[in-house]
Every structure is written in C-alpha cells, then in structure tokens.
Symmetry: C2
Subunit: 269 residues, 2 copies
Amino acid sequence: MERLSLNQITTKRWSLAEAIEGCAASGVGWIAPWRDKVAEIGVEQAAKLLKQHGVRVSSLCRGGFFTGVTPDGSPVDGVADTREAIDEAAALGTDVLVLVVGGIANNDLAGSRQRVADALGELAPYALERGVRLGLEPLHPMQCAERSVLSTLDQALTLAEEHPAEAVGVVVDEFHVWWDPRVEESIAKAAGRILGFHVCDQLVPLTDTFLGRALPGDGPIDHRGLRACVEAAGYQGPIEVEIFNAELWAQPGDQVLRQVIDSYAEHVD
Amino acid sequence: MERLSLNQITTKRWSLAEAIEGCAASGVGWIAPWRDKVAEIGVEQAAKLLKQHGVRVSSLCRGGFFTGVTPDGSPVDGVADTREAIDEAAALGTDVLVLVVGGIANNDLAGSRQRVADALGELAPYALERGVRLGLEPLHPMQCAERSVLSTLDQALTLAEEHPAEAVGVVVDEFHVWWDPRVEESIAKAAGRILGFHVCDQLVPLTDTFLGRALPGDGPIDHRGLRACVEAAGYQGPIEVEIFNAELWAQPGDQVLRQVIDSYAEHVD
C-alpha cells in the first residue's frame, strides 16, 4: 500500500483539507492535488496541511493547454498558466507537474502539435531551474479534439526526448493507453522518463468520453501487466488512482477512498 | 464525383432498393450496402437492382466479430458468418468485404487479438478462392472493448501482411485514424494493401462514442490531406461517405444524400 496515491479528482466532493485528512486517516501516504482545490485554500496553507499530516504529493494536476483553447473553447495562455503551476508544484514539495497539452485550435492538428512543442521549449528551462519535471500525459484519442493533441505514449516520448530527462518526461495513465498495440514497447522505450503511473479501469460499454472510467477491476484493463511494464522500465514511484466517474463523484469521499484502497489492493498491488 | 460512394449506413432510413435508386437518380455511381439491408430483399434481388440501375458496389459491410461476441455481448460465430459474407460480396459483384474484427472477450485483450489472427488464417484462403479481398478496418480506440481490438492502421497492416495482398488488405476510415500521429506514415506503408477509403468528420465536442460523426467539413479532419496520402500510396478506388449520426439518420434519405454530395464536393473532391 505504500505506493498508493489518491488523485484528488477521484474524491471530487472532498476539499483539499478533507482529502489530506482522509488519506492520513486511512494510511494513504500520497496524494495528487488538483490546482483548483489548492487555490481554494492557497498554496502555503496546502503545503502546511500536507506537512502536518505527513502526506506527500505524487504530482500536481495540471498545467498545459498550450494550443490556446480550453475544452469549452475559451482562450487561455497555457504557457503563463503553466509557469504558475511549476511554482505551485515546487511549493507543494513535488517534482512532477502533469501536463494536459490541449486540443485542436482552428481545426489545425499539425499546427496545434507544433504549438505544444514550442511551449515545451519555452517551459523546460524554467521547470529545470525550479527542480520540477514536466510530465507529458498522452490522453485517449477520443479526447484529441478537445483536450490533447498528444494521443500516444510514443508521441509523448518523442516530444520529451527533445529535452533533458530532468526537465521533461511522460506520465502513463492506463485509461489513455491500454488499448494501444504498442503500449508495452512504448513503456519500455520510456525508461528513465516515466514520471507517474495512473491506474483506473474503463467502463464497458463506453458511453461517455470523459466520465467513462471505473475502479480497477471493473473493466478490461490488465493492471498487473501494465504495472509490470512500468516497473521493468525502472519506475518505482507512487501509483495514482485517478477516476472520472459520475457515480463515484456522487458518493462521500471516505466511501470512495475505501473502494479505491480495496480495488487497488485486489487488482494492482 | 465519379469516385463518390454512398455507404448505406449514412442513409439509414432507406431500404437497399431506395438507396440504389437514390444513387442512380443523383449520379452517384457507387454504393456500399450493409448486409442486414441486403438480407431484407435477398442477394439475388439486390444484385439485379444494382445491375438494373448501373450502380456498382464499392464494398460490402461487413464481416468479422472473430472474438466471439457482438457489441451487446451476445455470442457469435464470426468465422462462419464471414464465410457467408464473402459469398454475398462475390454475388454482389464487389471484391472487397469490410471486416470489423470484434471487441474484447473475457477481458483478455491479447487473447482476443490472437483469435482475430487465427480467424484470418482460416478465412484468407476461402476469400482468395472467391476473388474477394478482406479489408481490415481498424476502429477508433474508444471502440476497442466492444467492437474492435484492431485499433490502428499499423496494427491492421501487420496482420494483413501475414497473407497475400490479393486476400487481405486494410480499409482507411478517417474517423477511426485521423488522430493517429503515425497515420501518414502508416498509410504510406500500406501501399498495395489499401482496399477502401471512408470519409466523414468528427463532432466536437465528441459526446457519443458511436454516433459522433459528421458530414465532411463539420469537424477537424483534414480530408484533402488524408486523401492525398491514400492516393500517394496508390489508392484510386471509390471513396465512401460513411456517417453514423442521429440527426442525419432522422432525415429522409434524399435530403441526406444531397448533403453528402455537397460536402464531398466541397471538402473531399
């Protein structure tokens, strides 16, 4: 259980303080906070609560949106926002900032991918100076248009390799990559660049492109198989359980965390 | 316009006879019938109507489901069913049968992929004898669990290459492959094996994993770019417009076909 980390989105109803307390009370030593929840109490107070409860931060969620648009189409300066996120990560005591790179701007896939590469070039030195590594998380291809023109681990790795491993790496989230016929090979190639491993399952049938996730064991994903791959590639860090699921989100946080712990113990650990 | 083919699912409300008549009346020289619609009047009558109206068949939809389960979880003998589909394709005068290989059986992705490879080994000689080529159509990764453990063009090509090009090839459907960072490279590698090119667009936001398609031009897909790729790889055959979309399906067939012709002329041709 010592590697289990609660990605805060999983217990969406909990404030950051509640989530930190919940983890501490249940013996979960890691958490991955979301920035909107951090902002509710401020970074300093968040850092203080984390220290007080002895809960460490596996990663901060999230920077990115380098293509200039949010999923709902609003304009955003992803580079400026990610600079702030890098500072927040450092202040929270984690060296991993997860990046969701952004969807397609102006129906221009190639141009949007180029904007991502350009943004990384701007941000990598800034992150390196602050001891924070940028974790490129490829998202499922069904989220390409709205959220991420980065769709496979191979593609993320190619981008990351333009920069020092101390500055840019990749995050392996099962939900986004499990279907990929090249996933095992890509994980092996990512050795030395893997900054996080996120677990959850996929609902079948998959009817919702955003909320179609489930507790480990409730779908077709081979958790122990993928875990073996990331471990063979040298990753020994925390394992985040990150679940977007409307039914779980409707439940009280402690009830959700109990299910997270049980499913992790049964299907991942 | 001479390469435009109406994939029959696009005008879902039309019977096969109506679709053939609609194509003939609009100067569309090609159609891709679906087997359930063919079955309503029988293969012989279908072949007779096609001949009578001078409409040719670009491909028959579809065989497959080799993993033993349909999308709703019912058992199916995909190999036996596909043998029948091969005979039907030959009787309808087309040399292309599209295959949707089937989703994950028993939560075993690797085993399900193996069943697909095994089924192809059984069926390729049968298809070759009858002059029908099997067109492996990779489906979008969001349909991996329910419909197709074949998710990328690369993966389809690797499977196809186990067999003579006269027996097994691949079908490039934009909706399923547009997001793939390797799509251009994969299409180039598929030279000599491309048996069909299907066009449509993707709705944004993508809220439905099955019906999220749109007329060409109503989404982020670069139709002329992908068409240039398949043509550079030597494909000069019919181009099917295949759209799963609830709003279109609610409209009368002739109204849909008019929009298909207009959007094809503006964005694909």
